[in-house]
């Protein structure tokens, strides 16, 4: 074929010319692919992995619009449109759980998010390098414990008969409190355990950003007579703003994704009233009670809200600070 094209055939018609250049392009592409076949072959399993384990279930989410029956499959199950979304909002339990999820998301954003920023600034002020390293080693550590272990530790120290917290309350002459057996404490425990586990680790990125600040700025401020505290306020904090904005946007995208494990491990029948979130409900109602389509609708609703929040946040931050995710 190639030799035919290159043979001198006198005047070529336009069609011939197009087909010959197309042939050439195809053959040069295939030659290119053949030359780097090892690279392309190597990437195939990974691409298949993402297709099968990430894209297939994504498209499988259509069961939210069906009455999915596990024996009939996707094609055999009856289509019901938005019915599950309608039942969702007519359901008292769902509204209560949505309320829990939103409240916990809000507390996590307002209370837990700023902690690593403050902690990083405070750690940065420790002048004794050895001690600073020592502190860092300790505060990073809880991040690597599993949620099951953390719940075990917390349930232990907050228990009524053997827990050290209630013992301390006893020394102060207070009645013991059943922290994990009441609706009123569970949200505090969930947010508190999150801060305990992750705020130390969260300082890493801010400490790196602080280390990247131009030291000339501090020198100039010193010459101008600004004290250390003034320097923190006028140099360190503003320099961290871009990092804070990006992380804030990412955090907002996960507003409703507090995480299944960190909540589930603390739940018991006495505190689900305030502690149950959408993810734990999806597990219980979906996997354990087999309400497949209904809980998929809830999951889909959650993803859409997350996406909308991140887009709104992005527009807002582009307008106000000029920082954006995309």
């Amino acid at each position: 074929m190639k030799s035919m094209d290159t043979m001198p055939t006198g005047r070529e018609s336009p069609r011939q010319r197009i087909s010959s250049s197309l042939n050439e392009r195809i053959s040069s592409t295939s030659r290119y692919l053949w030359r780097y076949r090892t690279l392309y072959l190597l990437s195939i399993p990974g691409i298949l992995y993402f297709l099968i384990f990430k894209y297939v279930p994504l498209f499988g989410s259509v069961i939210a619009f069906q009455n999915y029956n596990i024996f009939k499959g996707f094609s055999g199950s009856e289509w019901v449109g938005l019915e599950h979304f309608r039942t969702m909002f007519a359901h008292y339990d769902f509204l209560r759980i949505l309320n829990n999820t939103l409240l916990l998301g809000l507390y996590d954003l307002v209370i837990a998010f700023p902690v690593p920023i403050v902690l990083a600034i405070l750690l940065n002020e420790v002048r004794l390098v050895v001690y600073k390293r020592f502190l860092q080693t300790i505060v990073y550590m809880p991040h690597f414990l599993s949620w099951v272990v953390i719940s075990g530790i917390f349930i232990g120290i907050f228990s009524t008969d053997a827990g050290v917290v209630n013992k301390a309350l006893g020394l102060l002459g207070l009645e013991p409190i059943y922290f994990l057996g009441e609706d009123s404490y569970i949200r505090t425990i969930l947010i508190g355990s999150g801060i305990w586990r992750d705020s130390g680790y969260g300082t890493i990125i801010f400490l790196a950003a602080i280390a990247g600040i131009n030291p000339d700025l501090y020198e100039a401020a010193e010459v101008d007579g600004a004290g250390r505290l003034k320097q923190i306020w006028s140099i360190t904090l503003p320099s961290l703003l871009p990092t804070i904005t990006i992380l804030l946007l990412l955090h907002i995208g996960k507003f409703m994704d507090l995480g299944f494990e960190r909540v589930y491990v603390f739940l018991n029948p006495l505190n689900t009233g305030s502690g149950e979130i959408l993810d734990t409900y999806i597990y219980k109602a979906g996997l354990m009670s087999q309400q497949y389509s209904y809980t998929t609708a809830i999951g889909l609703f959650k993803s859409v809200v997350g996406l909308v929040l991140i887009m709104i946040g992005n527009i807002f931050s582009k307008k106000t600070t000029g920082e954006s995710l995309y």
């Binding site: 499988g60 502190l135 505060v139 599993s146 996997l287």
Partner: protein
């Protein structure tokens, strides 16, 4: 240089005290667990144990080490961590390396393809249906295969490979190396640091993973240590195999003490590798934060 102001010196002292107290709140709960795991049941139940063992005993540990269901879960976790981490590294590198090479046309498309899965993730049930169709429910492979590539780690590895000098690759090619030779002789020896960092991250997440086994494994024979530990917390029995309960015959052990001893044992591997871990995670986060 000016001397720091009085206000700053006060701030410094308060800051040091505050940070020291804070780090105590990170350590003390753990010390409390350790002390309880080494105490007798009477002492624990009477609330006598705070940060030092009371009526010191090894019996809680003896009980845990004598429990078959503990060893079984421990073995599952060790196996999944070792095999799983190996699979993770091979799978992640085999996609990240080709995508990092400029010769790979269409790599922008693949990057988007992966990025989309980070932004849009499927709800639980479609995942469950997929696992059922693939016969991964009640199959221990579910702890390894569905999580083979973590998108974030994929991006970290890709940027690591991308910053390796292309001159090395060109030189190897001139010397007659094929693509596989380049990978084996040039790329792999150079990528030890990124393999170590990501390997240790993958290993920790395997060891700590709980929900995957909870969702997809009903058979207690394949429960990893975290699931076993959670079941232990939920029950007042001392073993997840209800038949093997010997509680009444061991007057000095309490479920509380046994729970605490199991926590300590389940955390020990993490504590042991923590010094290595710490050396790597700062670097890992930094590479990852370079906007991909």
């Amino acid at each position: 240089m000016r001397l720091p102001s009085v206000r700053y010196r006060i701030f410094n002292v308060v800051n040091l005290i505050f940070l020291s107290l804070l780090s105590l709140t990170m350590i003390l709960p753990f010390v409390n667990v350790l002390a309880q795991s080494l105490s007798s049941s009477e002492a624990i139940m009477n609330g006598e144990v705070s940060f030092w063992p009371v009526a010191f005993t090894w019996i809680n540990y003896e009980y845990v080490f004598g429990d078959f269901s503990f060893w079984r879960a421990f073995a599952v976790s060790v196996g999944v961590t070792l095999v799983g981490t190996f699979v993770n590294l091979v799978a992640t590198a085999s996609l990240a390396y080709p995508i990092s090479r400029t010769e790979y046309k269409g790599r922008g498309f693949i990057v988007m393809f992966v990025l989309i899965t980070v932004v849009f993730s499927a709800p639980l049930i479609p995942n469950f249906i997929l696992m059922r169709e693939l016969h991964l429910v009640n199959n221990p492979l579910v702890l390894i295969v569905p999580g083979a590539i973590n998108a974030f780690n994929f991006f970290v590895m890709r940027s690591f490979f991308a910053q390796l000098p292309t001159e090395l690759i060109d030189a190897a090619r001139i010397d007659g190396c094929g693509e596989l030779g380049i990978i084996g002789r040039i790329i792999l020896p150079l990528s030890k640091p990124v393999m170590a960092s990501l390997g240790i991250f993958y290993a920790v997440s395997h060891w700590n993973s709980y929900s995957t086994a909870l969702y997809y494994l009903n058979d207690s024979a394949w429960w990893p240590i975290q699931v076993m530990l959670k079941k232990l917390f939920e029950s007042d029995e001392i073993s997840v195999d209800s038949g093997s309960s010997m509680y009444s015959s061991l007057a000095h052990t309490s479920p509380e003490g046994i729970k605490m001893a199991t926590i300590i044992i389940a955390t020990l591997p993490i504590i042991i590798i923590y010094p290595f871990l710490q050396r790597h995670f700062v670097k890992g986060i930094m590479v990852g934060s370079v906007k991909s």
